[in-house]
């Protein structure tokens, strides 16, 4: 999964402002961030610090109010919605806290969905989905529906969906937040194994146990990237 382009992700002067009625909320302010291919980055910070906004921008679910975002050498901050959709299908794998599997689709159909949007031929899709499900140990549940799975199993399927087709980067938003500790550990182990296989992973987490899994931690406070020490000081 690692790519020669370095850095794989470059954010420069990124700001995100939300306008609700007369209130202006600065979710991110002047964020500069480089993430190299193959890196395992943990994003942490207190509630409301902008972690999810940052992840959304990285995943092209949202566009910045200011600044530039270069993904694998391509500027992507000014892409149209449909161009962003194509990039998401090709280059980004999401793992959500709430799993976000589609209830009406089987495990297999959930996993191959992104590949379908990518326009991958059926045979290739089948191979890639099987490979991903095998990797997370869920190949035996191919025709099950999400409701028939435990929370931990659902998240493993979500991981399989994210990694199927080998995206450039995996973005995980509190992937263990809805799981018991055993299932959470299993998922983090899975992410570690993926990283060891060369995947670029950005994970948002509160859990200090899992921060240690990451090679690098990025601390956010009030929408800014800050050194870990300064966060500790202010919090203290």
């Amino acid at each position: 999964m690692a790519l020669a382009i370095d850095p794989l992700i470059r954010l420069t002067g990124i700001s995100k402002v939300f306008h609700t009625e007369e209130v202006e909320t600065h979710a991110l302010s002047g964020v500069d961030l480089d993430i190299r291919a193959g890196q395992y980055v943990a994003v942490c910070g207190p509630s409301g610090c902008g972690k999810t906004s940052l992840l959304s921008l990285l995943g092209l679910l949202d566009s910045p109010s200011e600044g530039s975002y270069v993904l694998a050498g391509e500027p992507v901050s000014t892409l149209s919605p449909s161009q962003r959709a194509r990039v998401r299908a090709r280059a980004i794998g999401f793992i959500f806290q709430a799993f976000n599997l589609i209830g009406d689709l089987t495990v297999f159909e959930n996993v191959e969905l992104r590949l379908r949007y990518r326009g991958m031929p059926a045979a290739e899709r089948r191979g890639a989905a099987h490979e991903a499900l095998e990797r997370v140990g869920m190949l035996h549940r191919l025709q099950h529906y999400p409701a028939q799975l435990s929370g931990g199993q659902q998240q493993r399927v979500a991981v399989a969906r994210a990694v199927a087709g080998k995206p450039l980067v995996l973005l995980a938003d509190e992937p263990t937040g809805n799981l018991d500790s055993a299932s959470g550990s299993a998922v983090m182990t899975l992410l570690r194994e993926l990283h060891e296989g060369g995947a670029t992973i950005v994970v948002v987490t509160h859990d200090p146990r899992y921060l240690r899994e990451a090679q690098r931690s990025v601390y956010l406070y009030d929408g800014r990237v800050v050194p870990a020490a300064s966060v500790d000081r202010e919090v203290a």
């Binding site: 995943g59 679910l61 959709a85 299908a89 976000n100 949007y117």
Partner: protein, 820 residues
């Protein structure tokens, strides 16, 4: 118990008030459905269900003659036949006859023509309806052929005498005879064989036992509509058996009047069936159609309630959590449905008041008993029943579904993005399928009628109806005709000549002609024989349409002269007459010959001879949807009747010349009423009135069905899309673009529509079979119609699915994912 009910009602009203948009859409939808049903039921009730307004109406029987071999049915009967029924059919307690006639009422201001009837003196006793004022006819009233007394309708009494009881005993002049009004019939009394547009308003007694062979004592003079009353304990079947026996006796006793080869028959059918049997299929089809509209409306409201139940899941769960039983929750929700249905019913009733009046006006020309259409207790009871039925019908399923909610999962949920249960989703989808299927059935029915009507108005009537004004005159025929002003043919001819000359002098009139009967204004059947070509033993008697016309009739009507020339202006009654025949008659009797110069004998073996002098093109005489039958035209100068129609070819709009033409004829005889003045195009339009009635209503109902089902599809798709926002957000996060999202939402909608269309096509095929009798020139399985309406409905459904899909494309994945 009642406290609980009123509490539920109050809560329902409060709840509905909090959702004004939902309430408005539901009430409007139900109002349309219930209103349309109430209006059509008011027609069905008045025409088919309400007993005839006569005493013991189920014992009244209509008697008609027919000729099986010639396909002729519903012939009136002659006075000798009527007397035979009276004397020889023991199953009948009494038999009466009525001869519809037009009577000129003069001497009281503007001369008017009144539709009336000469009736046997026992007529009203057979109907068991005595006059409301004055007295009934007695046998003594028929001194002479037609008595000098009359009964009038309540409406004529009100109109002409201001409802003054002193009208009894008043003398008026009817057809130049002094007649005394002896009674007034009850309000709303209708003559059994009546046209709602021109109801019969005056009755005079006639002597059906008159021995005068020149009056009614002639077996071939069939002018009487016969009504019999079954004797107590006797049945229709017994009466029919007696009539069949009577016919056998006639064959033997009067072979010249009753030909076995012609297949003489006498039919006894219930009077109600005779009056309304012809329109029953069309009315039942319309009742079925509005039933479909109501089903669609119910499906729509059920869908709305299912959607509402989802958003109210938390409220229902709380009610359950604090001890509410499932029964109490279902009762509460059903009360809401009934309140909605009642509001819809109230709106429907308002719509029905307007609709019933419009239907009554529209149906006058076509529907018997159309004047009786209105909202009565039966209709109100029907509407009340509909309200309860629809309230429970659309409310029960959503109520049961809502009351089955999983308490824990609902209460744990914050209420945001709660997903719809699969069962509820299936019900909603099923309802959409049902709506589409029913809408397609109605659209296909309307489409078939529309194409049929289109074919009908394309039918060439055989003449040019544009710029053609028509009017009719009926010269008075007093009780002692020889004393009348128009007794002799010369007197009548002199009047017509002067009248036509006066009309032709009106500026803007190009030409005027006379005809004994206008096309499409009724049958004028007459027998004839071909000289030197006697009937084969098994050949039925020959007959044709018969009209006397002035020589310029064909030119005025623009009927093409194919061979020979028009009739001459001969008056010599000793020389053979001249006849022009139509193309159909030539094809039947002289297929490979020139008929000009051949001779026919009119009316029978003793009738006058006529030389065929010309051949004209066919005219649709009876109905636009029936091919022309054989027709004989003779000169009106030789055969000058009491009643003639004037056809006037005009330079401009014919309606504009109507007052001047009437004035011109009044200039000849100020006491001569003129009636039926209308452009020929109106006669053509009226000829299609029956089809237009069904067409307009079915099209209206199909339109409502289309709108309701589109609203239904839109509602379901919009709701389903809002329920799938989260899923759409996930899909977009995974890379779905606008095309994929559009495809997802529209595809979901169109799958339901496709199933509905497939089911609807099956239903439409069944409806087509029922509609066959109403169609003309188009098959009940017309693929063009079926495909067109399926494409129309599919296209509109696509648009209804597309709008929510467009909104789905604008879903912000961030927002929808965050909402979870």
């Amino acid at each position: 118990m009642m406290d609980a009910f009123w509490r539920d009602v109050r809560f329902a009203l409060r709840g509905l008030g909090r959702s004004p948009a939902f309430t408005a859409v539901a009430v409007l939808t139900l109002g349309l459905g219930i209103g349309a049903n109430t209006a059509i039921f008011s027609v069905v009730n008045a025409v088919l269900l309400r007993p005839l307004a006569y005493g013991e109406p189920d014992r009244l029987v209509s008697l008609t003659s027919g000729l099986s071999a010639r396909g002729v049915t519903n012939l009136p009967v002659s006075a000798p036949e009527l007397n035979d029924y009276q004397r020889e059919v023991n199953a009948f307690a009494d038999v009466a006859g009525a001869w519809p006639i037009n009577i000129n009422l003069t001497g009281s201001g503007e001369p008017v023509r009144i539709a009336g009837a000469g009736v046997s003196p026992n007529f009203f006793r057979v109907l068991a309806v005595p006059p409301a004022l004055g007295r009934d006819f007695t046998l003594e009233d028929t001194d002479g052929h037609v008595g000098y007394v009359a009964l009038i309708s309540h409406e004529l009494w009100q109109r002409s005498f201001g409802g003054n009881p002193a009208a009894i005993g008043t003398k008026v002049r009817l057809d130049d005879d002094p007649i005394t009004i002896i009674g007034v019939m009850p309000p709303g009394f209708r003559h059994p064989i009546d046209n709602a547009a021109t109801p019969l308003e005056l009755w005079v007694p006639i002597d059906v036992t008159s021995p005068d062979p020149n009056f009614l004592n002639n077996r071939d003079f069939r002018v009487l509509a016969a009504v019999a009353r079954l004797a107590p304990g006797r049945t229709l079947a017994e009466a029919q058996r007696s009539l069949d026996g009577l016919r056998e006796r006639w064959y033997a006793q009067y072979p010249e009047a009753y030909s076995r080869a012609a297949g003489w028959r006498v039919d006894a059918v219930p009077l109600a069936e005779r009056m309304v049997g012809k329109v029953r299929p069309a009315l039942l089809i319309l009742l079925g159609a509005v039933g479909c509209v109501l089903l669609i409306a119910c499906a729509n409201v059920a869908n709305l309630l299912l959607a509402r139940a989802t958003t109210r899941g938390r409220e229902i769960a709380i009610r359950t959590a604090i001890g509410g039983s499932r029964r109490s929750i279902v009762r509460q929700l059903l009360t809401e449905s009934l309140v909605l249905a009642t509001l819809g019913g109230a709106l429907g009733l308002l719509l029905a008041v307007w609709g019933t009046s419009a239907l009554s006006d529209m149906a006058m020309l076509y529907l018997p008993r159309a004047r009786e259409i209105g909202l009565d207790r039966s209709v109100l009871a029907f509407t009340a029943g509909l309200i309860v039925l629809t309230g429970v019908g659309f409310g029960l399923l959503p109520a049961l579904q809502a009351s089955r909610a999983d308490l824990q999962s609902v209460l744990r949920d914050t209420g945001k993005g709660m997903s719809e249960g699969a069962r509820r989703s299936r019900i909603r989808s099923g309802l959409v399928v049902l709506e589409v299927a029913l809408a397609l059935v109605l659209l296909a029915g309307a489409g078939l009628l529309l194409r049929s009507f289109e074919r009908l108005i394309q039918v060439e009537p055989g003449f040019n109806p544009e710029a053609l004004l028509t009017l009719q005159v009926w010269l008075p025929w007093p009780n002692e005709p020889e004393k009348g002003r128009y007794f002799t043919p010369e007197q009548r001819l002199a009047f017509y000549d002067r009248a036509v000359a006066a009309v032709e002098a009106v500026p803007g009139v190009r030409q005027a002609a006379l005809a004994s009967q206008l096309p499409l204004k009724g049958q004028s059947d007459a027998g004839f024989e071909i000289v030197d070509r006697p009937l084969a033993p098994d050949e039925p008697p020959r007959s044709a349409e018969f009209r006397s016309v002035t020589p310029n009739y064909f030119e005025t009507m623009e009927i093409p002269m194919l061979r020979g020339r028009t009739v001459g202006g001969e008056r010599d009654s000793t020389a053979p007459a001249e006849a022009v025949i139509n193309r159909t008659m030539v094809a039947k009797y002289w297929p490979n010959e020139n008929p000009v110069g051949r001779q026919i004998r009119l009316f029978g073996p003793d009738g006058p001879l006529a030389n065929i002098v010309g051949v004209v093109g066919d005219v649709r005489q009876l109905r636009l949807d029936l091919p022309a039958r054989e027709e004989i035209f003779v000169s009106a100068r030789r055969f000058t009747g009491q009643q003639m129609a004037v056809v006037i070819r005009t330079e401009g709009r014919p309606e504009a010349l109507a007052p001047a033409a009437m004035k011109a004829i009044r200039g000849v005889d100020p006491e001569q009423p003129i009636f039926g003045i209308m452009p020929m195009t109106r006669i053509l339009a009226d000829a299609g009135a029956e089809r237009r009635f069904s067409l307009l209503l079915l099209t209206l109902f199909a339109g409502i069905a289309l709108v309701l089902s589109v609203i239904g599809i839109y509602g379901v798709m919009a709701y389903a899309t809002s329920q799938r926002r989260h899923e759409i957000g996930i899909r977009m996060a995974l890379g779905a673009g606008s095309r994929e999202v559009l495809g997802l939402v529209v595809g979901q909608g169109m799958r339901l529509v496709a199933v509905g269309l497939a089911l609807g096509l099956g239903g439409a095929w069944l409806l087509g079979r029922v509609l066959t009798s109403q169609l003309y020139g188009v098959s009940a399985r017309d693929p063009v119609t079926y495909l067109s309406v399926a494409a129309l409905l599919g296209g509109i459904a696509l648009a209804a699915s597309y709008l929510p899909a467009r909104r789905a494309v604008r879903v912000d994945p961030m927002t929808s994912l965050r909402a979870e």
